[in-house]
């Protein structure tokens, strides 16, 4: 019997049974969490925006730090009086952190301080090219290094009891690379439609990669990718690929129109090349993220590809995949039924992580 076991152990290890044990998925629905009406609603959003959300945002702290190469990085902090934990918020590509004022207010109401960072080259952060509309990054790793700088120079100085991360889309891609490089920086990570593989839209993948890599190889990749251009006001809600909430879509349009400094256009070839390289790294990095992670997947996403998210979550020992049925890409900017359900899962997940960390 012992001999049989001695033979079986290495075989089982080879078969993958030697992987780190996975925790049982958290039954989020069964956990206590924010009740009905805990989050803002579309019906009263415009009124609430002017009466409480924007004043709370304006009362927060705005600041600038130096990122890689001296690029100025804008951040915004909304502190709770006696915070349960600090939530670092990373937006997606093109999104200024100011767009997340509503999310910040909702998290603040749940007792969390929020530290939001504008990625380099977008929002109120510095640009790397003379044409400020161009979506460009020299090295995708710079986003990761910038996040670490933000943690060091701003967030950790407040000595939060617990540190959590909420990231959307490209911010999610940055987050998983950061988690692989600096494991244990956060007590829990929530990812909303993370960019772990990108859709090339109407262009077949081989054509898109041929165009991008040729441009990056032959020059500096600073030209707009085919089909991209300067910022243009979004006027087509009906065909929006990111949300089904008209009021949240309109708030975003109004924010960008009122703040030209936050406007961003399409992507450059260099950004595409760097993103292709980054998502490949990101997909290989699941096993290096031991932190409890909630991955919200938008069921109707056409911007990032869901297959890669599922694969990442299968590899990351602490990852839990949670599909938001009917949601387009921007889950946290969706209509109430979808957004509030997703936000409820995030808050329950964070509450649980804070409670768990407190017991250790």
């Amino acid at each position: 019997m012992r001999r049989t076991l001695r033979l079986l152990v290495p075989l089982l290890a080879l078969a993958g049974c030697g992987k780190p044990a996975r925790d049982a998925p958290l039954a989020l629905a069964a956990l206590p969490g924010p009740g009905p009406g805990a989050f803002s609603s579309e019906q009263t959003l415009l009124q609430r925006s002017s009466e409480s959300i924007q004043p709370l945002y304006a009362a927060g702290e705005d600041g600038m730090i130096d990122g890689v190469g001296g690029v100025k990085l804008h951040y915004h902090v909304v502190r709770a009086a006696n915070p349960r934990a600090a939530v670092v918020l990373l937006p997606g590509r093109t999104e200024p952190v100011a767009k997340y004022a509503e999310v910040m207010a909702d998290l603040h109401a749940q007792g969390y301080s929020v530290y939001a960072l504008d990625h380099r080259g977008q929002g109120e952060s510095g640009r790397m090219l003379p044409n400020r509309f161009k979506g460009y990054v020299e090295h995708f790793d710079d986003y990761v290094a910038d996040l670490e700088t933000f943690l060091d120079q701003v967030v950790r100085k407040d000595a939060p009891r617990k540190l959590l991360l909420l990231a959307h889309s490209m911010g999610g891609g940055v987050s998983v690379l950061h988690a692989a490089k600096h494991p244990g920086s956060f007590d829990a990570i929530a990812l909303s439609a993370p960019m772990l593989d990108i859709s090339t839209g109407a262009f077949p993948v081989p054509v898109a990669s041929a165009l991008s890599f040729t441009s990056c190889s032959a020059g500096d990749g600073t030209d707009y990718a085919v089909g991209s251009g300067d910022y243009a006001k979004d006027t087509d809600f009906e065909n929006s690929s990111v949300t089904t909430s008209r009021v949240r879509w309109q708030l975003r349009v109004d924010l960008l129109e009122a703040n030209p400094v936050m406007q961003l256009g399409g992507v450059t070839y260099r950004f595409v090349c760097e993103s292709m390289r980054a998502v490949n790294f990101a997909q290989q990095s699941g096993a290096r993220n031991p932190v409890p992670t909630l991955l919200l997947q938008a069921e109707a996403d056409t911007i990032v590809l869901p297959g890669a998210q599922a694969r990442y979550c299968a590899e990351a020992p602490g990852c839990q995949l949670s599909v938001v049925e009917g949601s387009k890409h921007e889950i946290l900017m969706e209509r109430d039924a979808l957004r509030n359900e997703a936000l409820s899962r995030v808050v329950k997940f964070f509450d649980h992580a804070v409670a768990q960390a407190g017991q250790e």
Binding site: P206, V207, A208, T214, R277, N280, A308
Partner: protein
């Protein structure tokens, strides 16, 4: 004019096959050295060993370095000339690097295996047919998880000169 030139080049291997030329002009093996331009890899340096049988192009083995700070490739390619002329098909095994080792941000994960299928022509030109004009294209499969990297289309034009033969 360009169309006519292209047609003439394409017809050349068929014509040479029909005429059964050249009977004894070629050595058994000739080594060519040259350069190429194209996409996805913009430029490359190559060495091609061509094997002739009964004076006709039969087999090639080449080494190709396509240097770039962004997506460079080291590769070994094989080619079979089924008609005994310029046209060939063959496989290519690549060692791809997203970032050159001398560039910032190079990481071990930047190294990828790539498998290419190639179709093209290698036309022998000039005195003693020592010049070699090549045109080739084909897909490369990179067995990565990221869908956007799995397939790439490439195309190149090159010229090489015979530097040794036996």
């Amino acid at each position: 004019m360009r169309t006519a030139l292209l047609l003439a080049l394409l017809a050349a291997p068929l014509a040479s096959a029909e005429e059964g030329q050249p009977a004894t002009a070629e050595p058994g093996t000739r080594l060519y050295a040259g350069a190429k331009v194209g996409l996805v890899h913009v430029a490359g340096l190559t060495a091609v060993a061509s094997r002739f049988e009964a004076g006709r192009q039969a087999w090639d083995l080449d080494l190709l370095w396509e240097p770039s700070a962004y997506l460079q490739s080291y590769s070994v390619g094989g080619a079979w000339h089924p008609l005994g002329g310029a046209l060939y098909v063959g496989p290519r095994v690549r060692w791809l690097q997203f970032r050159a080792p001398w560039g910032r941000s190079f990481a071990a994960e930047d190294n990828h295996l790539g498998l290419s299928g190639e179709v093209g022509g290698r036309w022998l030109l000039g005195e003693g047919r020592k010049g070699m004009l090549s045109v080739s294209g084909g897909p490369t499969w990179v067995p990565t998880q990221a869908g956007t990297l799995q397939w790439m289309l490439g195309f190149s034009v090159g010229f090489a000169w015979g530097v040794a033969e036996r």
